[in-house]
């Protein structure tokens, strides 16, 4: 009987799990709420006009997927929900920027079939306190994850983008 349960468990782990295309680890609404300890401010809107286009393109290698970005700001803290394609599907990230440094980076929704190791804390904690340089690069080296290179690249790009957008909307 124990052998049977082992077989079922490993079948699930190796066959079923990779087929789950959309994994919601945390809803964006929940992320925003927790970032402001349950009382988020009213959302604001940033339109990605021509003013931002060159830098956004430099950071991402292309224009951002949307023209309008919603964000939340209270004092020096801002929260961003951003998306970027990993290999084929979009990865939704939640980023908290505090004092122009990354306070938290979380993978909220992962839609790719492989590479979801990037959601783990051992990887995302590398971004803690990261800042952006004048060249719009991260001021630290981020170790990759074997087999998830494209997802890692997507996260690094979005981290840079969030820091850039935060600097542009700083009050």
């Amino acid at each position: 009987m124990i052998r049977f349960y082992f077989i079922v468990f490993f079948t699930f782990c190796f066959v079923v799990s990779p087929c789950v295309a959309r994994s919601v680890y945390q809803t964006p609404k929940d992320f925003v709420s927790k970032a402001f300890l349950g009382t988020p401010p009213a959302p604001k809107t940033l339109w990605l006009t021509k003013q931002y286009s060159p830098t956004v393109k430099k950071i991402l290698g292309h224009q951002y997927i949307k023209k309008r970005i919603q964000y939340w700001r209270m004092n020096n803290k801002s929260v961003w929900i951003l998306e970027e394609i990993g290999k084929e599907k979009t990865i939704t990230l939640g980023l908290i920027i505090n004092e122009q440094k990354i306070q938290q980076l979380s993978v909220l929704i992962y839609r790719e079939k492989r590479g979801d190791e990037v959601r783990h804390h051992f990887f995302t904690r590398q971004f803690d306190n990261a800042k952006i340089t004048k060249d719009h690069e991260l001021n630290r080296y981020i170790d990759g994850v074997s087999g998830a290179t494209l997802s890692v690249n997507a996260l690094k790009k979005l981290a840079r983008l969030a820091l850039y957008l935060d600097s542009q909307t700083d009050e």
Binding site: T27, P28, D30, V32, K66, K67, R68, Q70, E83, T92
Partner: protein, 268 residues
């Protein structure tokens, strides 16, 4: 009884003529197929340079050979001159493909100067240039299993299994709608010109020139008969190679080298 030398020569000549005859006739018969094989083979050899796998066939007669035609029942929505439709899970805004992972198309309408496309698990806001303004599922958890959408009294309303929600002009806040009865957005009759657009979009990405050339090269484009014709032509080509070699050998036997180095053909 041994045959006479003149009889033997005559027999040899007749045999040579037969080889010539067959060589010529086979050559003429398979000429077109060999040309087709040679041209398609050369094109396939330079597939990457010619980008044949990225160029798609739009010729009706070729597409009809493959039986490619757009499905008949496609829901189309008119948004002030722009058309939204979905073919085989691919969403189109006029001629532009819209990338998304929000499920099937539920409805579409014009609201607050925006083209609003309602999917099962997402709402996309597009401008008239087909640029994505916003994707609402990112920040709004309620947008799941959307069943229908409608516009009434300056409100955009969606229906989910749990409730009916309405939003503001910016699509930021979704609140339960007090409006009880109104008509939901529904597909419109597809005009002929839009139908042509749909056909072109469906066909345009369905069949690459590489596929056609591969099928032409193997003969499969003409069905099983085509494969057999290419097989027979290949056998014919092999026979021609052998008959060509045979004729060459025979010819060599008839060549006599003269003292001053010149060659002359001697009829045996």
């Amino acid at each position: 009884m041994n045959s006479l030398p003149s009889e033997k020569n005559n027999f040899q000549k007749a045999k040579n003529r037969r080889v010539h005859h067959w060589h010529r006739n086979i050559g003429m018969t398979i000429l077109l197929v060999v040309c087709m094989l040679a041209i398609s083979g050369m094109a396939l050899n330079h597939n990457d340079d010619l980008m044949l796998n990225k160029k798609f066939v739009k010729l009706d007669w070729i597409l009809s050979i493959y039986g490619i035609s757009a499905p008949e029942n496609i829901s189309t929505y008119s948004l002030d001159g722009n058309w939204v439709y979905e073919i085989d899970s691919t969403l189109y805004f006029n001629d532009s493909k819209i990338q998304h992972d929000g499920g099937g198309l539920v409805a579409a309408g014009k609201f607050s100067e925006l083209n609003v496309i309602v999917l099962q698990n997402d709402i996309l806001l597009l401008n008239n240039e087909a640029e994505l303004i916003d994707k609402l599922s990112d920040t709004t958890d309620a947008l799941h299993n959307i069943l229908a959408a409608g516009i009434i009294d300056n409100n955009f309303i969606i229906k989910t299994p749990r409730e009916t929600l309405q939003t503001d002009a910016d699509f930021y806040e979704w609140t339960p709608s007090p409006i009880q009865s109104f008509s939901w957005l529904s597909p419109q009759t597809t005009p002929a010109e839009v139908r042509i657009q749909i056909n072109n979009n469906y066909r345009g990405n369905g069949l690459s020139y590489e596929r056609v050339l591969l099928d032409l090269h193997s003969g499969r484009i003409f069905g099983n008969a085509g494969v057999y014709i290419v097989d027979l032509s290949s056998i014919g080509l092999l026979v021609m190679c052998l008959s060509g070699v045979l004729m060459r050998v025979k010819q060599k036997g008839r060549v006599k080298h003269t003292k001053n180095g010149q060659q002359s053909v001697v009829d045996i």
